[in-house]
């Protein structure tokens, strides 16, 4: 992002604004990936991501670093916004990973690997939202187990255990389909 934050445009950005800008830069794509993975709806994910950073911006003064790191805080806001969206939804969401995306062959990707990816995406879509959320936080947003635990409200070891179970579940689903 080339621009500085405009709220204090007439004066030097405060430490809080600079910290928020850094947090935004480092977590923007990860938040989107998490929300899109959870909601499986690109349009809703964009809206929720925007709402997340707007809320975070409004609340930036209330953030207390002693209660956790900034990423966990932003993902906590994103989770609440995503779950609110999930509650509101009456319709079935689209797949976050569009078939169009999957149809696009990755560079140097052979057909077999592409088929495997489709298989995994299908298994992921069959997961319960609670399980899919863990995958989204860990593998889409790149959070550590400790951060996943902080966002979801469980311990780090519990987060690791649950993630392991979900991976096993995905592996069995894929192997069973082969």
């Amino acid at each position: 992002m080339e621009q500085a934050l405009a709220a204090p445009a007439m004066e030097a950005p405060s430490d809080g604004d600079l910290a928020f800008e850094a947090l935004y830069r480092s977590s923007r794509d990860d938040v989107y990936a998490y929300v899109a993975g959870l909601l499986r709806d690109r349009a809703a994910a964009e809206e929720v991501t925007a709402v997340t950073f707007e809320r975070a911006y409004r609340k930036r003064a209330r953030f207390d670093p002693r209660r956790g790191n900034g990423r966990a805080w932003v993902f906590g806001i994103a989770r609440n916004a995503a779950l609110d969206e999930l509650r509101r939804r009456k319709r079935h969401a689209e797949l976050a990973v569009d078939p169009a995306d999957l149809d696009e062959p990755h560079a140097h990707e052979d057909a077999e690997r592409r088929e495997t990816r489709l298989l995994l995406a299908g298994a992921l879509a069959e997961l319960a939202p609670r399980e899919r959320e863990l995958v989204a936080l860990k593998f889409f947003a790149g959070l550590s187990n400790a951060e996943v635990g902080a966002v979801v409200g469980i311990s780090e070891s519990n987060a690791g255990t649950r993630l392991h179970r979900v991976i096993e579940k995905l592996r069995e689903a894929c192997d069973g389909a082969l």
Partner: protein, 358 residues
Amino acid sequence: MERFSDTNAIETMLRELRPAPRPEFIAELDGRTAAGFTHGDSRVRRVLNRLRAIPPRRILAPAAVGAVAVVAIATAVVSTTGEESAPATRANISEAIQPPPGLEEGLNSFGRTLPRGTEANEVSAASAALGHRAIERSARIALLADPEDVADDSAQVFAAVHDANGIVLRSNTTQGPAGRAGATFGLLIPSARLGDALAAISAIDEVGSRHDATADITAPTVAIGERLADSRAKVDSLLAQLASAETESEREAIESELRSERRRAAALEAQLSHLHRRTDYSHVSVRIETGDAPASSGGAWDFDDALGSAGHVLGVAAGVTLVGLAVLAPLAILALLAWLAHRTWLRIRREHALSRRV
């Protein structure tokens, strides 16, 4: 096709499935963030947003200052109001003096009862001066004096009673330090001279409080006067019958009835005399008090006065704070409970959303 024998392989592939945002969305979000998410906001909303952005610890100090200012203003208002309604000086040492029971009833019957019959002329001279109404008057005065002035003030009370041809029913004088020294007097003052006597007593020292009361006793006075006239007429009639009685037994019966009627007339006369006395003389209660503080007449405002004033202000401030808390605390507790309930409900609903397949 490759099998997922290794969890690392599946994790790697999951990372490859990571959704990526559209560049257009990223550009738009960057712009909104750079603008501080103020685009399209009203001025009020912008102000609210800026207020929300203030850290709580920076709000605490102004909030505390505001609360103190509110308490100070309320204290000033309450103190001013309290001083206006309090007695002029040293209100704390003067007991509240209530009107005598029956006074209101007497005043209410004032317009309903009119003197009638021949006994109206028996109403006392004082009553006659008040338009043939029988009015009982009473007064209470509290004088504030220095301890060393109690004896002198008491002597002046006696002198004032003497000048008014009044009667000292009882008196009690105590010498000692402030608060213990004092005197009380129970006086009977001729009603016709009550005004002069009260003026003389009030001039003895500073008046802490004064209460005057009146009670209209015309109705009982007239009623008893009429019954007395009837009784006397009956006595005269019995005397006439006695004079014309022919037999011994008839004479004895009339004499017996005559004795009874004379006793009744005597009792009625006593009652009427008592009522006349109540209208002719007024009960006056005088109290000389010294209180805890030195007399303010001519004295400078010293350290004790300052302490007393400070204590008073602190007391009022504490009262105001207590009343404010009594009003606000339940509301705050209700708001807190509502907020907690809403949060809990929201959390449950959000977790429930994760349990549904979409």
